[in-house]
Symmetry: C2
Subunit: 400 residues, 2 copies
């Protein structure tokens, strides 16, 4: 059976172990290693308060070659001051020591509770353990995925294979994240490996575009975390003619990466904290692209819309309320809304529809809400999920 | 016993009855009448989609004298097209007919589900009923308050008495509203009566200021409704020397009105859908006043903060995350946060604190979160409430 985990692309090893950061005793430390060295690109949170891991990785990503990524869950190492920075650097240098590379050639990522220091004794012992567990098996790829989970209920992985210049190229990715998700440059933690041969600038470009149209379009609760990091590592082991320009080979690669990221974004929406279903909001007829983006997000973020979808209630007035209240230009006499394929509001007037039919549509695992602002030609979209009692239960006592 | 309802100020009659708009059979139509005519001022929603009642009242508020306000609950008369406008005008003209005044001298307000037409037969019969019930008793003042409620669990009223130029002046107000509340010019429905003698422009000024620092500072779910309306009617019956300039008499009046609106805002926060407690977010050290406002609102609106407060969980990292993610200028090395009187984060470093003590603070009916951005001298605040399972339950099937 094909290995569809992050060890699927040639040239990568992975491991995931438990070292006692999480009180639950679940796996909490993961490693990805590319022994021959990889081209790497990354995008980070735009939150003005960034975790120590983000600060350190922002520096290390400038290295021409990256040999490893060390990730912990259970502690965000954010708002932890100078000690936090020292600890994030220590995670890189410990890993680099085993790989016999420079510590600048290792990236670090953290996720979990904000404001607590890492238990460094456990982390250091954990890195040594993880080094000993490294392999290219699907099992260890899966162990990595499990080690980065927090309130996720399911591991999230995606894999795409494409032929480029007669060579089979594999791209595999994994994400964690179920809350503190707002779309703005690299939501949550995301790690992607590929055996494609591609230059660092093009890898960077492809990642930015793919994340921009997938993870960055997802909102669970409207705020991006302090730790958001998306990394892609390219080993070059597929042996394809290197991708060095925006040629058709680049486009094929970028398309596959975009599809993979879209797949991951949808998995995240469906496994968001307490979510039972997801939806896509498409906004057309905006005066500006940015206004289409903003209106789509306003609908997807609105708790009253999210509750109505949770209850299978075709309460479209809340969609119109969100659009009207978010400040974008609209024409009240042209404003229209469709749920699935059913028009509920057209040119500023309510439309008679079968509420049972619409209730069925919004009770599906996935549905699309389309709004036309009647103010221009621009469009954009956003993914969202319903708001359930379980979201409250999970988040009312996550800390304790 | 003093009459602290909206019929407390001299010169006002009120009534509240049921006419069959609400399927529950509860009271759903209210009237306030000032037979001698009142100076009136109002603020309305800034949502770009406005209810028919808002559109009509925006025109009618220009009249020099207002004799009555007719209000229905159970149907927002929003997104209802031309029929909706016709119906809102009809509500005014019916009421005006009984009062023998021009229909432009009557205001109208609606609240309830968006996108449905008013059952006008019931509404017209209801207006006649309400006219027959009008009195200046506290009981009828309370009937009005009950008739405007939707998902409110408690009637909300406040009253202030002040001496101005040797005369006792009474100001009384009532609000409804428990969801679809975002702070931006007159949140939800609010009706205030006073027997002060004051000019229309000054009444307008005092209302705008008072609402700006009270109801507009309250967020329940971040989106303002299509129907938000706040009205103040002044009968002049107190016999005070008329307030015609921004003199000390005006200041006294404005201060009492501001206190009354603050009181109403807090009652709304505590009775927000599913809320069990409220909190105030104070932001200091902002580079601009608007950024202080924005940061305070970002914290109060953040579901993860609201859930943590619901659970009594001192998870201050979510406060910092909200502040960092909302785009305002801040100094990460000066950023600080206090919950009640306990510092939890100071100059970008975590502070050791007793979590049990902080848990107790945030479990109170009211507490204050203070954030210093370390970027300037401006301050502002916002009121918010916790997010509970009941909010979801209420809103997942409000429609049906």
């Amino acid at each position: 059976m094909a290995n569809n985990t992050i060890t699927g692309p040639k040239g990568f090893l992975a491991a995931g172990i438990k070292c006692g950061i999480k009180k639950s005793g679940k796996a909490d430390l993961g490693l990805i290693v590319c022994p021959a060295g990889a081209r790497a690109a990354a995008v980070f949170t735009t939150n003005k308060i960034t975790s120590a891991a983000v600060e350190v990785s922002k520096r290390h990503i400038k290295s021409a070659t990256v040999y490893g990524v060390v990730v912990n869950s259970g502690c965000a190492n954010a708002c932890t001051g100078k000690t936090g920075i020292k600890n994030a650097i220590k995670m890189c240098s410990e890993t680099a020591g085993f790989l016999v590379v420079d510590s600048h050639e290792v990236l670090v990522a953290s996720t979990g509770i904000i404001g607590e220091q890492l238990p460094m004794k456990n982390v250091i012992a954990g890195i040594e353990d993880a080094i000993g567990e490294l392999s290219d098996s699907a099992a260890d790829g899966m162990c990595f995925t499990k080690a980065i989970m927090t309130t996720d209920t399911k591991p999230k992985m995606a894999c795409r294979r494409v032929n480029i210049s007669g060579k089979k190229i594999t791209i595999a990715g994994t994400t964690k994240g179920a809350g503190m998700i707002g779309p703005n440059m690299a939501t949550t933690l995301c790690f992607i490996t590929t055996d494609a041969a591609i230059t660092k600038p093009l890898l960077n470009r492809a990642l930015k575009e793919a994340i921009g149209n997938s993870l960055n379009k997802l909102t669970v609760d409207g705020h991006q975390s302090t730790n958001d990091t998306a990394v892609i590592l390219a080993s070059g082991f597929a042996g394809n003619r290197p991708i060095v320009s925006r040629c058709p080979r680049y486009k094929k690669f970028a398309k596959a990466l975009a599809e993979l990221c879209d797949d991951l974004a949808k998995q995240m929406a469906l496994d968001a904290e307490g979510a039972t279903r997801m939806f896509k909001v498409v906004v057309n007829g905006a005066a500006l692209k940015a206004e289409a983006t903003e209106a789509a997000r306003a609908v997807a973020d609105y708790d009253l819309v999210k509750c109505a979808i949770h209850g299978g209630d075709p309460n479209w007035g809340r969609i119109i309320c969100a659009v009207g209240s978010c400040g974008v230009k609209l024409n009240p006499n042209k404003l229209s809304c469709t749920i699935g394929d059913v028009a509920v509001f057209r040119n500023g007037q309510p439309v008679k529809f079968d509420p049972k039919k619409v209730s069925k549509i919004i009770s599906r695992k996935e549905h699309t809400i389309t709004v036309n602002l009647g103010a221009g030609k621009h469009s954009d979209f956003c993914y969202g999920c319903d708001l359930s009692r379980d979201y409250v239960t999970i988040n009312a006592d996550y800390h304790t």
